[in-house]
Amino acid sequence: MTFLKTLTLTLIVTICLPVAFAADEFQEKELTEANYAKWRDHVLPRNWELSYRKIPWQTSFWDAVIEAQAKDKPILLWSMNGHPLCNT
């Protein structure tokens, strides 16, 4: 399941990103009431950008160790400098 989600995200990123980049280009450098929604929507992530967050990650390695020990299962750990689900 994890792999399928990762693969789906990768395909979406590969196919959609160039299109999304082109569609998002705009020139308004100042924030005004008139372009507020445009800037907000430009910055906020699209649903496909958040696909990886739909996976029910344990947010700490230790929680995963506790669960895996209890269930006698292996752990898949994604580890980064900065938390992969937050500021990485």
Partner: protein, 290 residues
């Protein structure tokens, strides 16, 4: 499946139980293709810390192969090698997860997303969180919220935003936050737009400017606009948006910014969701002074 930061765990001086386990396999690669250095990556391990497979290759095919290899190896391992001899103690984590306990259950938790105006290369946005305690959240608008009532959000809260949240982490985490003296301007004014029973509708307007020259010559000077709704009876925000747009300049620390030239960057703060990931602490929570 777990996602976690390796910064603390990889430090050799760290004696936390999760770190001791992590360092049994950190940095090892069973796949030889497409790896980066360091300890970042994907690891398939047993609860006892036995490495099954690992890679830092971001290709999904490599990840699929990693999992396949890991399951084959897992099937061959006897139970006593797979598991720890003693069940791991959940309370151990209290030593290194103190910041998570500061989550403002009755306050305001915001997701902070940053993105350049010009989207140049992936990843082109990042997110962090910003927390406000209950009394701090209530200080975002007038004590007597009547229509058109204006209110200056306390300076210390706006400055905290400017120092730790209005920063350039678009391409990667930024270890550089703005020191107090870097904040040249930090103002946010709220206006009560409407009061419908217990529901107070607000607008926000403001600006900030942070600039420093050492150890990094960086800065960000955004204009701020926003809107929110606060339920007086429940004493919490039911919606919240704050948009910051302005020029950023300079290179941060580890943030993968390669062009120091001034360019527009936007940052948007909205209410967090309710998944466990949305309760992760802000990157600079330890600097809040809580």
């Amino acid at each position: 499946m777990a996602a976690d930061a390796c910064d603390r765990m990889q430090r050799k001086s760290c004696q936390d139980e999760d770190a001791l386990l992590f360092r049994k396999f950190a940095g090892e690669r069973t796949s030889t293709k497409g790896n980066r250095g360091g300890n970042q990556g994907h690891y398939a391990v047993t609860p006892s810390g036995e490495l099954l497979a690992s890679s830092s290759n971001t290709d999904p095919k490599a990840l699929a192969e990693l999992m396949k290899q890991a399951l084959e190896k897992w099937a061959e391992l006897p139970r006593e090698k797979r598991l720890l001899s003693k069940a791991p103690d959940p309370k151990s984590a209290e030593n290194w997860r103190r910041m998570e306990a500061l989550y403002p259950e009755d306050g305001l938790a915001l997701r902070v997303v940053a993105r350049d105006q010009k989207r140049e290369r992936w990843p082109d946005s990042n997110l962090d969180y910003a927390w406000f305690r209950k009394d701090e959240a209530r200080a975002f608008f007038s004590a007597e919220p009547t229509k058109d009532a204006q209110h200056e959000v306390p300076s210390e809260l706006v400055r905290r935003l400017a120092r730790f949240h209005l920063i350039d982490n678009v391409h990667a985490l930024n270890y550089t936050f703005f020191p107090k003296e870097a904040i040249e301007k930090a103002r946010l004014t709220s206006t009560v737009v409407r009061v419908d029973g217990d529901l107070v509708s607000l607008s926000f307007e403001g600006e900030s400017r942070a600039s420093m020259v050492s150890p990094k010559k960086i800065g960000y000077a955004p204009k701020l606009l926003g809107r929110a709704k606060y339920n007086l009876k429940d004493q919490k925000f039911v919606s919240f948006e704050l948009v910051a747009v302005g020029l950023r300049w300079g290179l941060g620390s580890c943030n993968q910014r390669h062009n120091p030239a001034p360019a527009p960057m936007g940052i948007v703060l909205t209410l967090t969701g309710d998944s466990p990931a949305e309760r992760l602490p802000p990157a600079f929570i330890s600097r809040y002074g809580w």
